[in-house]
Amino acid sequence: MNQTRLHDWHLAAGAKMAPFAGYDMPISYPIGSVEEHLVTRRSVGLFDIDHMGQVEVTGPGADAFVSRLVSARVLDMKDGDARYSLLLSEGGTVIDDLFVYKIPGAWWIVVNASNREEDLAWMNSLARAHEREFGQVHIVDRSEETYMIAVQGPRAIELLDLVSDTKVSELVRFTSGNAKVLGVPCLVGRTGYTGEDGVELFFPAEDAVRLWTGLLSEGEKRGIETKAIGLGARDSLRFEAGMPLHGHELSKEISPLEAGFKWACDLEKDFVGKEAVLRLAESGATRKLVGLSVSGGVPREGYEVQDEGGRKVGTVVAGMFCPSVKLYAANAFVEPAVAKSGTALRVIIRGKPAPAVVVKRPLYVPTYRR
């Protein structure tokens, strides 16, 4: 089991730990997942996300390679731009979802911890297969030496401005820049996975404890409530804000068209999986990702979704209590005929049908979309 450099800090803070993607990670701290969620929505949450992977791509063939590799348009990106994208298989299903940062002289790709090995193998094989076409491409896994902390919440930028050598507030959403935060040289991405404003910081791993404890104590000193947040609240925050978690709303069995991610596919360029996406667009998806509001229990992954007549129409891929909108909600893949907002359905919870209704996603509108 891997440990992050903050493992001892998490234990000392009384965190409940559990394995996630090969790492022993904090699930919640003594204040509890619900309160952690609410702190992030009202002030600042700090997330140890060192388990995430970072891949650096350079070389003369890098632009052509990245453009073929990922589904989103990237060749229009300028230095400092950051963009959400998908990594598709030839069959048009989702190997991973990732954030692509264009930084001077390189592409910086942030991948999910659980998919890192597979992503790297896939990237290397694609680069080798097309070396003549793209030109030379260097793919380097920077995950070991790079630490990653997310600082998220309505007061996150205020806190960062106070402790950085440059104004983080001047970075626009979905861009990145360099700054020293508490003296630590960081790549600062104005990105995140909570639906709140904030940043994701990339910096040398040896500075992890210093930056983490420094941000917590600076927050306290300056009267900006700042708390460590575990993976439990990270999941409810992203879920409410309509963001996918690979292995649930996206997977190697799911097409971006089914999950509502056509917007992340640039059909005007060539990318791996495009032919399959076009074929499915032609024939029509047979299931669609919807949000469900459920009463009478907590819907969870794997639960069956039925229509009012008791016929199975789909399956829940994620579900939980949502602390900000105060709903028991699920994401489910259902037949397109019952995917319309307002459709009455049922989720089978412990053998009993619980009333559910299709609701618009996201349940909580991210700040940058307001």
Partner: protein
């Protein structure tokens, strides 16, 4: 972990406590702590008869759903509606406002077989 001295316990972390002619039933502080934030509580119908060790309801935390079991055989004579509306009450006050059901015991002698506070504390402390 706190224990209520006036209650007796099952190893599965439910407590029972005499309350006039009936018994109140809930889950221990140790159990609520282990479960984490409780977000949903499903309680039985009043009038339902259940044996000791049978599941009478479900507690759902952020991470999982767990059955809760009858510490003593009996009939459900009341359920605590307050925890249905505010499940976190079980986290905050597991022995007081966060009680789950009241039962009329059909075999009051079962009380003697439950763990007293000291024995339960010793057992739960080993987990």
């Amino acid at each position: 972990m706190s224990v209520d001295k006036n209650s007796r316990y099952r190893s599965s972390h439910e407590w029972a406590r005499k309350d006039g002619a009936r018994y109140l039933v809930g889950i221990s502080d140790h159990a609520q702590e282990a479960l984490g934030d409780i977000v949903f509580v499903e309680l039985p119908e009043v009038g339902k008869r259940l044996n000791q060790g049978e599941a009478f309801g479900v507690i759902e935390s952020v991470k999982a759903a767990s059955d809760v079991y009858m510490p003593m055989s009996g009939t459900i004579v009341a359920v605590n509606d307050a925890v249905s509306g505010d499940p976190a009450l079980v986290n905050r006050e597991p022995y007081a406002g966060g009680w789950l059901v009241a039962i009329e015991a059909s075999a009051p002698a079962e009380w003697d077989g439950l763990l007293d506070a000291a024995a339960y504390e010793a057992e739960a402390g080993k987990e």
